[in-house]
């Protein structure tokens, strides 16, 4: 028995070391910080990397790379309009506790052929596999209600549709391109309306539909300079901010009348 246990331990260690000796990823981002200044109109980040083949006989066939760039999560509400007395009114709503504000996914081939559906779902890869937490449905009068699953799905699909329309969620099948056997690169758009916060860029290396290595890098998107100063002041010292805004406006009004009066 003891020998049996030792043998199985040995086999396990072997298995771990062989998996550790499988192909590995090395990646980097063109930028780790994106500054939103007054001239910010969106940007692009370049992610590049290489597959380091550790096993001599490994082949580069059926090898895929998926890149997922995800923004900070926050609660979001989806509202559905219904006609009430001829006017379109926000009626039922569903609130999801943790929705990524940005989700871009690029892959060497379309996701469907890259890996089995179950694998992608288990690893939460892909816009359809985002898990936004337990939704809370409310009726127009604010009472919590329970929606049938298909109706709740319609709300979730609507959230994705809205985010896609705003350019905040997107798929880039073929967005990761290999340059030769080992080098790859992907360019991901960051639109001007991105939420600020901590982003992660996650790279998955797949062989024969199985994930064999992942690597994750942080990416900060934040306001800088005057933008940051104004935003900070508006949130940390709102009374002073409001008074300054009003005084500046009043001064501008006085200046205008002084100029007009001189003419």
């Amino acid at each position: 028995m003891r020998w049996g246990a030792a043998l199985s331990l040995f086999l396990l260690v072997c298995a771990v070391t062989t998996s550790a000796r499988a192909d590995q990823l090395v990646t980097d981002l063109s930028e780790y910080q994106i500054a939103i200044r007054s001239n910010f109109t969106g940007t692009q980040i370049l992610l590049f990397g290489a597959v380091e083949a550790r096993t001599p006989g490994s082949r580069a066939i059926n090898r895929d790379v998926i890149v997922v760039v995800q923004g900070p999560v926050r609660p979001m509400t989806v509202r559905k309009k219904e006609p009430v007395g001829g006017i379109w009114v926000n009626h039922d709503s569903v609130t999801y506790p943790s929705v990524p504000g940005y989700y871009a996914i690029a892959s060497t081939r379309p996701l469907e052929v890259t890996a089995p559906h179950e694998t992608l779902k288990a690893l939460r890869i892909g816009i359809e596999n985002i898990s936004p937490g337990t939704p809370v449905a409310e009726s127009i009068d604010g009472t919590i209600q329970i929606l049938p699953p298909e109706e709740e799905t319609a709300f979730w699909k609507a959230l994705i549709r809205n985010q896609r329309r705003d350019g905040l969620y997107f798929n880039l099948p073929g967005g990761v391109t290999f340059l030769g056997q080992t080098l790859f690169r992907a360019t991901v758009d960051i639109p001007a309306n991105v939420p600020v916060g901590l982003y992660t860029a996650k790279v998955y290396l797949l062989q024969e539909g199985q994930v064999i290595d992942t690597i994750s890098s942080p990416l900060y998107i934040d306001k800088r300079g005057l933008e940051r100063l104004i935003y900070r002041m508006a949130h940390s010292d709102p009374l002073l901010y409001g008074l300054v805004a009003v005084l500046v406006a009043a001064f501008a009004g006085w200046l205008a009348s002084a100029i007009m009066g001189r003419r």
């Binding site: 910010f40 509202r79 379109w88 504000g101 319609a154 709300f155 508006a234």
Partner: protein, 307 residues
């Protein structure tokens, strides 16, 4: 050239904002109005969140009404006592407007409320002005003198707490002006307007103030109500975008100068008919949006984290 707005959190074209400010400023100089009711819907059309549009517009109204009030101060056409009474009501109204605004934002009905209130006021006031100016134009063509308003005593004179307003030559109860001020203050906080287009008719037709002090008094009270509204929007909703306000003020100041000059060359009654048409047009446009089926039934909003 684009500029990223720090509070609205989106980039806008500087030229578009300056042009909008100038166009609205031109109209406001031409018609002697604040222009908030034109600018707030325009900002919302541009994609600025409603709270930011209203809060920022309140700041811009401070600038334009200071200019207006100073001009009337020089002409001694402000009834400070009446303005003060209106202001008392206006301040309370602004505070409750801010509260209602926050409540409606939380339950997701603020966009609808803003639209409905706009449609109601623009169409009613637009229609009233249109009828009146058409009558006046006809009367002028027919050579008939316009009807003189009779000085009969209305229900207002039965109310208690009377006060003498020397500048307006009135001896009336303070209840109606306080109520009017309150009502306009509430609307101004919800709609992002100064409220002159409601205040002025109310002062003429309900309070029966002499027309020569009406506009100056209205500007005087709007300065302070708009200032309070702007500060409260900044405190409660962090919704004042100082960069956007600055651009709007610059455009507005320049536009207003040309508007005033243009108005001197146009007859007053035609000018009023034109303004009425403009009000009706915006009212119809907003009304059409309320009843036409939306492109996407579903909309998303980030949940504001309660402090």
């Amino acid at each position: 050239m684009q500029i990223y707005l720090p509070i609205a959190e989106l980039p806008v074209s500087i030229l578009t904002i300056l042009a909008m400010g100038a166009a609205v400023g031109f109209l406001s100089g031409m018609f002697g109005i604040g222009g908030g009711f034109l600018m707030t819907p325009l900002l919302i059309f541009l994609g600025i969140p409603p709270a930011v549009a209203v809060g920022t517009q309140a700041t811009q109204i401070v600038a334009s009404s200071v200019t207006g009030a100073l001009a009337h101060l020089a002409r001694d056409s402000i009834d400070f006592k009446m303005g003060g009474v209106l202001l008392g009501g206006g301040m309370l109204g602004s505070l409750s407007g801010i509260y209602i605004f926050k409540l409606l934002t939380n339950i997701g009905q603020i966009d609808l409320t803003i639209s409905v209130v706009y449609v109601l006021f623009l169409s009613v006031i637009g229609a009233m002005m249109m009828v009146e100016s058409v009558q006046a134009i006809r009367a002028a063509r027919g050579g008939a003198t316009p009807k003189k308003r009779s000085g009969h005593h209305s229900w207002i004179h039965g109310l208690p707490l009377k006060m003498r307003f020397r500048r307006s030559k009135l001896y009336i109860s303070v209840i109606p002006p306080i109520l009017i001020g309150y009502f306009v203050g509430t609307l101004s906080a919800i709609m992002g307007v100064g409220g002159g287009f409601i205040l002025i008719p109310a002062m003429i037709y309900i309070l029966r103030m002499p027309t020569n002090v009406v506009i100056g008094t209205s500007f005087f009270q709007i300065v302070f109500v708009a200032a309070l509204t702007a500060v409260m929007h900044a405190v409660e909703n962090q919704a004042v975008d100082i960069v956007l306000a600055f651009l709007l003020v610059i455009g507005g100041v320049v536009g207003a100068q040309y508007g005033v000059r243009a108005a001197e060359k146009l007859p007053a009654e035609q000018l009023r008919a034109l303004l009425a048409a403009l009000l009706l047009l915006i009212g119809l446009r907003l009304g059409y949006e309320l009843i036409s089926p939306p492109e996407d039934l579903y909309s998303i909003t980030e949940v504001q984290v309660m402090k």
